[in-house]
């Protein structure tokens, strides 16, 4: 049988902040994300399930990544925080309408 096989390799970075993402730590997160973008990664899963706290500086880092990724034809999706209060904040700011949201990393990866 004749067939043609093409392989697509899509690199997806799964980033899981384990500490507070706030005005002090967000620059470090940004730096890591910028480095990944710089290496050509354009698909990102930001897994917030183990992130204890995120302020608007952390949210700004996600928006910045989103803009850059979409410009490159990629996407940024989020995994919901476990903490109910943190979930409500993403809803309040309508981040859950801008970022595709998932309950776990596997579903998030499948979407990309």
């Amino acid at each position: 049988m004749q067939l043609e096989l093409t392989e697509h390799i899509v690199r997806i970075a799964v980033v899981r902040p384990l500490e507070r993402v706030d005005a002090f730590t967000a620059p470090q997160l940004r730096e890591r994300l910028d480095a990944l973008s710089g290496e050509g990664t354009k698909h990102f899963v930001i897994d917030l399930s183990a992130t204890p706290f995120m302020d608007s500086a952390g949210m700004a880092a996600l928006v910045s990544l989103l803009k850059r990724a979409r410009q490159a034809g990629g996407e940024v999706v989020l995994v919901w925080p476990t903490d109910e209060a943190a979930r409500r904040v993403l809803h309040l700011t309508k981040f859950d309408r801008v970022f595709p949201m998932f309950d776990d990393v596997q579903s998030a990866v499948n979407h990309l």
Partner: protein
């Protein structure tokens, strides 16, 4: 400012130290028995405080340092948490405050919006040459439960 026993925290106005502010309020609330949704109340107050304090660092002091003073107490009838945050940076101009258009994402401009959404009162005034942010969170629940 407050008649109930109050707690006072003074920190350098740097992003590095803002985690102390949230920790103090979290522990103060942790001692309030019978609070409804304690985790959510605590998170919301911590986030609001973080936003107001980050604004003081970024806008009032514009990165030039100084101190932030926080005075807080839990008051009764009605049961509430009252916080006064003050600094000696440049004054806040209320006209610079705009409600963010939530149908677009932005890289900034969520701070005051979040603080106002998560607390019951956020007011600003200048007193004795200091900027003061007066914050109130109503506490709900059954104080005799525990």
């Amino acid at each position: 400012m407050l008649t109930e026993p109050e707690v006072r925290l003074v920190i350098p106005a740097t992003h590095r130290h803002l985690n102390l502010v949230g920790a103090v309020v979290a522990e103060l609330l942790a001692r309030e028995e019978g609070l409804a949704e304690p985790q959510i109340v605590s998170y919301n107050v911590q986030l609001a405080l973080q936003e107001i304090c980050a604004n003081i660092v970024d806008h009032a002091y514009a990165g030039c340092g100084g101190q932030i003073e926080m005075v807080m107490a839990v008051l009764q009838t009605p049961w509430r948490l009252v916080i006064d945050l003050s600094d000696t940076g440049r004054p806040f101009n209320p006209e610079t405050e705009v409600t963010p258009d939530l149908d677009e994402v932005h890289e900034g401009g969520y701070g005051l919006f979040l603080a106002r959404a998560l607390l019951d009162e956020v007011s600003y005034r200048i007193h004795a040459g200091r900027n003061h942010w007066h914050l109130v969170k109503q506490l709900e629940g059954d104080r005799n439960a525990a």
